[in-house]
Amino acid sequence: MTRPILEVRGAHFAYGRSAPVLTDVSVAVTPGRSLALVGESGAGKTTLLRLLLGLARPTSGQVLYQGKELAPRDRSLMREFRRGVQTVFQDPYSSLDPRQRVGRIVSEPLRSLGLRENMTARVAAALDAVGLPEDAASRYPQEFSGGQRQRIAIARAIVCEPRVLLADEPVSALDVSTRVRVVDLLRELRETRALTVVMVSHDLAVVAALCQEVAVLERGRIVERGDTAQVLGAPRHAYTRRLIDSVPRLPPPKG
């Protein structure tokens, strides 16, 4: 079995003395096996994502990148981690600085990580990879639609060629037709760039389209985990079944 690239082991998390947000959560991300974290609001998905991003530290338990525990003081490890793990957010309006041109936004990881060679070319390549026109770099985010803004955010996330893309509900703020196109884009990037996607989502259809593995969270605990087909096709936990039954579907086509 391949060594996990990113892993959370036995993590507990609580804010101060309040009720725990996460209880004994263990998740491993295997290269090439995209993973979905599924659950409802308040289930702890976003907190788990923050742990995986190194933005919060578990109250107890470990977060490991390539087998090494994340330590804010270990600067070379953190730098390697930042380069290897990038993120896309839910709200494409809040995730782009309105006062920076797209080119500057997309190049931020390169500048922060000190990868200053061929910056313009890399930014252009990233914008091209997400299907945005060349002149996008010199424009402001306000000039783009929601779907295009999400593409800009994805370009920023892939510009330093990371291995893992952590995405928090990356398409739930988008219209249906745009949603499908962005899912297509993420799938394409997953294949062409050997990206492993870790996605927080409540949309099981998007999960099924993008991820090979699923972990279901309920009230801070992982209640079910496994291959997407297995979890969705033969759910063992009652909550997973309820989740699947609740997805609104179109009436089946006639004929």
Partner: protein, 278 residues
Amino acid sequence: MTLLTVAGLHVRSPEGRDLVSDVSFTLDAGERLGLIGESGSGKSMTALAIMGLTPPGMTVSGSVVFDVPSLDRIEVVGAGERRLTSLRGRATSTVFQEPLTALDPLMRVGRQVAEPLRRRRGLRGRALRAAVTAALEEVRLADPERIARAYPHEISGGQRQRVAIAMAIACDPALLIADEPTTALDVTVQADVLALLDGLVEERGMALLFISHDLAVVSRIAERVIVLKDGAAVESGSAGEVVNAPRHPYTRDLVGSARRLDGALDGAIDGAVDWRTP
């Protein structure tokens, strides 16, 4: 019996952009109509125009007529604020997308539900409290007394939306307008709230104008649908027709997108992860 007649409705922004152009439809008492569109399609503006609540600066033309049996016939476009106030609550009432902003954060839930009951039905004291409890029970809120004492932030999103629904139907409106009422909710909660709306509309014989970007949700609750794009109606018909045999290219794209997502889920459930690229 025609309850609402919208004819040639036109809404223009202060900058001269047409947000809604030439939208016409009728709605019978007890009928359920879905308004489908993506962001910027003008669906919410249409709903606001129907209630006479368009933001200042908008130019509204055309005609929106309510014909509620117990009330006078009312033409909403160009009507004065007093006439519109008499319309709201009894002829029509609305549930919005975000239940947190639709409720006053500094007022207990019970008082907010009591307000329309007091105003329209003239209830006071014990009778009012009983009516509030009954209204909260009607939207299937367990432990209505506790909910009535709570502030909006102390209850869940699903509970808040139920409270908003209770307030909206408190005055027995002939038409309930629901503007993306389940979009901000979790999937399982969405399913419950849809079932609740479905039941309430059925029991009370209310007409429903259901606005959403989600084809699957609309086709679950509405009989007839209108598809809006850039402010204009591009297609209308029964929910089944539109979903199964979309005529307009835009509707075809919408249905195709929704079907692909459904297909991915079905593929996974059937044991094969399958994402057909068209």
